[in-house]
Symmetry: D3
């Protein structure tokens, strides 16, 4: 076959793929040979965190109350080592991409990993409330433990609370990897920047989008297909998007948003409001509102 | 770095994570050291079931018509052994969570696994109809086999028919694991309790939600983003949700629901009805109805 | 337990499962013992293609600019070998299913694999534009590289451009496997037949459906939950679906479709049009249109 | 570092390694792209054979007497498929190396695999005698089952009886792979050509060598470090070794050879003879001999 | 091919293999469906023990002095769980093989595993002496750590000290699995029953055999190919081997045995004796002896 | 069970294992958190080297003469990266153990890895001679390729030539790992320091020991159980072994040593000598000698 004979064609394709692409480079070269964060190791870290947050539900060991402390301590130390290295890679990646070299990325990474671990008990307590909300809020749930083991909401919110803590510490890239992992597994897309209060529950969840600057109070509940998004993006005088401006909704405590509803822009949904299914909303509503579409029966 | 020095900080975090959480325990201790069901083994069981239901399409062996019976028998025996153990774990989990101890969970588990295997030929025949519906209903499908191998609908409905059979036998937890696996892979969320008739097809599928007490006739078809849900949840005098009440739609035979439509509550969609895309419906409609939104062209 | 005793019951179930199913056979026997395409190998091929298209971002090796050419050439040769075999299996599968035997499927497969590799540099250049569009279009994106590594849009569009090239070459089954892999991971369902222009971006993406005969211009942008579908399916005089007719929308250049919008049928959205969230559209609109629902504020 | 800069040095080394070596080619190109036999698949085949020969001792399944037949039949069919392919590769390898092309190597391979399977029950019965000999002959053995599960002798003799059956069928290369696997694991090196009678036992075993043309009667026993070898090799008029001539010892029934003894050449050790440890023997001895070194106490 | 047609031949072979073999059953059925000990889990246990005994040399974690205690405790708890289960399987296996049923094999197994763990610090101290002896005794050893990481002697003696402790506790089968693992990896065959004193070193090691009832003092050293075996086996009046009698050599402290020497029977080699290479010895020698062959120069 | 209750006993065992051992530390702490060399990565490096030296025989790809150069170059670059890192770890290990810190161990490691790669073509040419010697010297060998794929001699000599090249470059620890891997697989123990000429062959091989300072000419051949060792070890005035002195035999060209022979000390075996089986030799012999034991027939 002419394709294989002498390999000339592969060489030509190879040359084309090794030459620069339009727009920007498609190749990544980190400084100091630091590779990209490892998706496989990130998976191991998330498994270890789940084992630390929900012992007996996840992780390989049949922990008893007596041996729990041994495994917890070893697990936390391993998480510290693995996470420090991944944070370091995330920092190096961002340095290389933004050409803004930082020194000491190794020690910076260890400091952030340590600060994250200190936040873990608080995350655990928040998740206990989320689990309770999932159990209390779904008539099909038989036990709280079932929601820990099976519910996409608990998966997605666990990933979010971890990603948000790292995002708050200024860790680049890693939080996004964590949130996209949950997005892929559950169809729930929560930006690591979103701030979410206690006892949060998303039923079914596929198609939910929660934007970067959302602020969600305690006791809120969402259903599948809900978007908490932005209307339009501000650009600077050069026509380049201004990044990071507050542009997503604020939900006060105990707000419920039913399936397929879309809430856009920096609007505030007052305490205890209920937004009906498929509602399209781009304005604030006072506490206690019940918003539904005109075409609803 | 002070974090590592002496490990005192890890010990403090460890103590906090080993102490009780608010709301309820976040740790699972099964009676008699029985661990949680294994997600990895559940994956193997589902692969083996797929190989038994669609031989030659799935499974490792190049089966011929002559050797099929050998592999089928060995596979069924392995499924029996593996599934019995996972059902036993599911029973123990529920015992531990609900404090309602059952004796003989080992033999109970084997009985349920055996009863499930007896239901398998019927499930296979139902799936043959589903495959036919997928092929007949999608102009992009080239062959029936392509829908078996590639279509999310066949994946999700296979998992559902298996989960529903186990749910009907009173197996706890395991059916939910099976349905959430399909939910994660396809974005189609069918509660194991839902009753679904012959020749069922879901096109594209992402975002479909089918609730616990739905009853769907034969020859029905759904598109992506359809919700068959409930309106509100009844609570008892203590304000606690009453679980298990009929609260989701009934679809009679040959009903089609187009993309994004939402049908809520114990309503009946009469035989042969067509519900248009994005329709919001909370009332019953007679046979032969064609419902579309006022804003549709 | 009677179930195990003598294995008689397993034999009965086995016989039932080995006997023919209603509607059609549920067993696949390829000619010449060629098994089904391997999903595991398809996963390896996609990983290798990602490493070839985005070196340094994906793949196991810490490539430098100097050693890139070595790894690229070896990778391309391995892709050729692996892909040829999978294409051959896809051809055999379709032969067996459609009873339309083709000779020389081995050399046909190698020719198509070679033709695909020749198209790879063009695909790479298209993807460079897509990456740029993702970065420019999302205020939350910090660097272009972040979109390569994390964004579902880049994942789905990469798979699509590969699947579309194979589809155009007349390769059966394999393109569908590739597109369903992306569908499962991202919730974005793009049929391999869809034709998509330069600098394409899908934000969030869950629930997006793009049909087989869509034609999308350059610079278009979609949000989550957008459907570009068909209205109804033509059947021939025997009531059988006519497959392959143009039946999905045409988007001219620079069209934006917001979250949850549904566009159905062979309609044309004129250059630069903006379709609002949740809009339901089954007619063509002229260039520069801004379509929104009457119920929007 | 100059080594990496431009990769010129790697290219030079690469060119040298791709150019011909002295003496003969060091690269293998099989006809028709058939690769070398797979050591990994050979390992799977041997595991499956062990499970077929010693059910319940080896293999993944908890077989009961009732389900044994199911797993046995499936296992045999898989062995047939896997082994046929490996035999075919072995035939192709030998064709390529000896430039003596054979047609129909696919069907030849299947015939040999089928003939081998027919020999399997006989092999099983021989091994039952070997297990009995191991148990009866070692005061440290607690049960026959322990020798099946743990004893290097049973491992090595199992591999030998399989390799010898394939060797007798004229299968190239594969028998050698099987015997070298046992050699590596146990230190016992038995050439596949050696003919070994019933109830054979090797105690400890490390360092034992049994040559290609050995003939060993029933009830023989060897200890570690025993060599049954050849004295010198006949060459033809061109000085090239003549291959395959009888040149190794014949052991009649019930011969025992103690540790470290060396027996060389086509000599016969008569029925019931005992050869002492470290003895060096290059002549035949009559039945009932007891040979020991002069320096032994 | 007739072999496959209808699978009749496979069925015949299958029937033959499922029928009883001569001498004894070749199939293992444990009581209560307990399977054989898992060689894979035994491998994990040995890896964990090596990590506990030589932290930082073996095991996955980069332990520091500060985090060592965390990982040690978790590791010990996991070893306890895993080893208890394997001991239980070993007990069940022996029960089934010897028809001498024991009750409470679960709690018996846990007691033995606990007793073994208590012996672990003593084993560690013995191994520290063995490592020192290896370093001091081999002119090619650069550091003590090199002998821990690379030397077959340390591997074999570690396995032996573990196997011997379990053997002393009356654990069946498991010690033999552990010693045969080392035998396969190093060619050093030490029976778990052998009693070996402090600071033991075997140089090179291939072919060494140390019998069940050997007693070896402190500071002894062996070279490759040394046999410490038995002369003949006593049988009872029925001609059946009497198992467990003292029948192997006693080495007093500081004895050295050079390569290839053979010492057989319940003889005593006096303190400080040196046995030359290839010596054949079946009698006791007084302290301080230097034994060499007459044919040595 | 008291063992588990409160975990107090595990804590006590843990404390004992974390406290210092007699003789020396049993824990390894490398400077700068560099872990031990990875045995798994060393295995990958050796597989890659085998694929580079014997393309088509080893390695995953079906290389053709046309694509060989692509895979060779990529493989060499990967070997360079992987081996540099392992050499660095070996250097750090030795630094930590000997307390003799070296700076720049990263660049030193890369230099040594580059120098090793430059030596690879020469190693390949030597191995071509070894393969030829194996084929020419064994009447049971059917083709040269069979010896590459199956013969322990080629495995052990390949590992040795690689280990020796690294040893000559002053790389610590890594050569020993490579030689012990071959020792475990083949029973052939060649110290990396030994110098071995062209066309070297070891038949059967189990139990062969070749010491650190051996010098072996071209065309030599050994059989199983041969020891080329040292007589006694010189100690310095403190009674500590002097390491590295010449103390093993020199074999001139074309020397053959038969099975079980032992040659000890810095003696010279003259060109073309033949040493008989089981011979014990501690003196030099002139060229052309034929040495056999007096007790041989």
């Amino acid at each position: 076959m002419p394709f294989r004979r002498g390999g000339r064609q592969i060489e030509r394709i190879c040359d084309a793929l090794c030459s620069p692409a339009p727009y920007q480079t498609m190749m990544h070269e980190s400084p100091g040979d630091t590779p990209m964060p490892s998706l496989e190791t990130m998976g191991e870290i998330m498994s270890r965190l789940r084992a630390a947050l929900f012992p007996g539900f996840f992780g390989n060991t049949r922990v008893s109350r007596h041996s729990l402390q041994f495994h917890m301590a070893a697990n936390l130390d391993s998480i510290f080592t693995l996470l420090s290295e991944q944070i370091r890679r995330g920092v190096c990646f961002t340095c290389a991409e933004t050409k803004s070299m930082r020194a000491h990325c190794g020690s910076e990474a260890e400091e952030k990993a340590a600060a994250f671990l200190k936040a873990l008990p608080g995350i655990r307590d928040m998740l206990a409330g989320d689990v309770n909300a999932a159990y209390a809020g779904d008539p099909a749930a038989k036990t709280p433990g079932e929601t820990i083991f099976c519910y996409p909401s608990v998966t997605a919110v666990t990933n979010h609370r971890i990603a948000h803590a790292l995002h708050t510490l200024g860790v680049p890239l890693i939080p996004r990897i964590i949130s996209e992992t949950a997005h892929s597994a559950t169809g729930i897309d929560i930006h690591p920047g979103a701030s979410i209060g206690e006892r949060f529950f998303i039923d079914h969840g596929t198609g939910v989008v929660i934007g970067e600057t959302c602020i969600i109070g305690s006791g809120c509940r969402l259903y599948q297909g809900v978007t908490l998004g932005s209307v339009s993006f501000d650009k600077d005088e050069d026509g380049v998007l201004i990044k990071g401006l507050p542009r997503h909704p604020i939900l006060e405590d105990d707000v419920t948003v039913y399936a397929g509803a879309t809430v856009l822009g920096r609007v505030t949904l007052g305490k205890g409001s209920v937004i009906g299914g498929n509602v399209w909303l781009t304005r604030s509503v006072p506490p206690g509102s019940f918003i539904k579409n005109s075409f609803m029966d």
